[in-house]
């Protein structure tokens, strides 16, 4: 048995901070691990649902990570995936019920997307890869970090799509009305690009972000 006194790691040690900063760039769940793409396609038409979705994922992922981490030594190995699923599904249903009762407008906004959180592979991925093997605080930091990494990309894609597709941001018009082509007066030179409203464009935008990120961060380029 080791006689070495185990030093208590500080809450915001370099290693712990890395849990937050890593998923932001080097290990981004969307652009590097390419997880959670389905929701990135579905809810990035408008900025507002994308922001609310990011916040909801942050809550579910951080809380779920902590719960899984707390009971990690009690979970039978053979049914661990089912246990993870039950935890995430219960959290999502609870959030949905509370929103319906106390934040009805937000709940209407999110509609089906609350349910979509359950199927977000990032959540199950972090439970399985991280929370099962680490303490609650680290799991919490990891959850926050990954959901920020997810949210940043989601919001960036939604920003581009709403701006170019609908000419609005958070529902407010940002393109001057006089720019739009007006058939009656023959003025204007601009039209919204309706193609940005369709899911393929989300994939292309995510692709462009991955390209830009890899061009800047050469660590990410595979050798071969």
């Amino acid at each position: 048995m080791s006689t070495e006194v185990k030093q208590k790691e500080s809450l915001f040690s370099k290693k712990n901070r890395k849990l937050i900063s890593d998923p932001f760039n080097d290990n981004n769940p969307i652009t590097v691990q390419v997880l959670g793409i389905c929701s990135a396609l579905a809810i990035t038409v408008k900025l507002e649902p994308a922001i609310v979705m990011s916040l909801s994922v942050m809550f579910v992922l951080a809380a779920g990570n902590v719960i899984i981490s707390l009971i990690r030594n009690l979970i039978p190995n053979r049914i661990r995936i089912i246990v993870q699923l039950v935890v995430v599904a219960s959290l999502v249903i609870l959030v949905d019920q509370f929103l319906k009762a106390y934040a009805y407008d937000v709940s209407k906004q999110l509609s089906v997307f609350v349910g979509l959180i359950i199927t977000n592979c990032i959540i199950m991925g972090r439970f399985e890869a991280f929370a099962l093997g680490n303490g609650p605080w680290k799991a919490f930091m990891d959850g926050i970090g990954n959901s920020i990494g997810y949210g940043v990309i989601l919001i960036a894609v939604a920003f581009i799509r709403e701006l170019l597709g609908s000419g609005t941001l958070l529902g407010f018009s940002v393109i001057p009305q006089s720019w739009y082509i007006n058939a009656e007066t023959g003025t204007g030179f601009y039209a919204n690009n309706g193609f940005f409203l369709f899911p393929p464009m989300a994939l292309i935008v995510v692709g462009l972000i991955i390209w830009a990120q890899r061009a800047k961060n050469t660590k990410l380029i595979e050798e071969n």
């Binding site: 030594n73 979970i75 039978p76 246990v83 219960s90 009805y104 799509r161 597709g165």
Partner: protein, 230 residues
Amino acid sequence: MNVNSNGYTYTFATVMVVLVAVLLSGASLGLKSKQESNVKQEKMQSILASVGVEVDRSEAQAAYDEVITQVLTIKGGAVVSEDRATGFDVDMATAIKSSNMDREVPLYVANKDGETFYIVPMRGKGLWGPVWGFVSLEADGNTVVGANFGHKSETPGLGAEITTPMFTDQFPGKKISEAGMFQSISVVKKGTSSGDYAVDGISGGTITSNGVNDMLADCLAPYAEYFKNI
């Protein structure tokens, strides 16, 4: 303790399921009344919004009681009940299952600034789930004053645009019948609507637009007979 033995696995699963079931049903029961009152107030808000009365959710009940003077229940063109609660509580999802003339559907009569308006509730199918709405008509039971729509799960930016002013602002002034013959209002391909009986649909939201089109025809029809005689 061996956490991987069969006995432990079964026990763990059972305890987990029971705990989660208790937690979720507790939350559902505890929050139910609050959720239902939200839904009810929102319905009142939508009814009022279709005649241009915008109120906060907390004031919805008071404004509803003031503006809505009568709630009639119509069946086959005749009034079968004048009880306010009976009309308000009609579940449109069930009502639209029976044929036009067999339905018991509510008609809200509003009085705003001395003018009478009729408000017709609607419900139909969108692409992913139900769509619904309210259309208000002038005292002649023909000219549209306003319309608003809601949906459960249409795609944001596409089908979900039926709730925006861009779509609903097309309705005022449209008519639902021509010389006593019921016409309804068609939702047509964007940019091709003309005349009193058509509005532009949403590009990229064709199936939702068609759903609104069918809903208008289906839900206005049961009142045609009643409006003919006012």
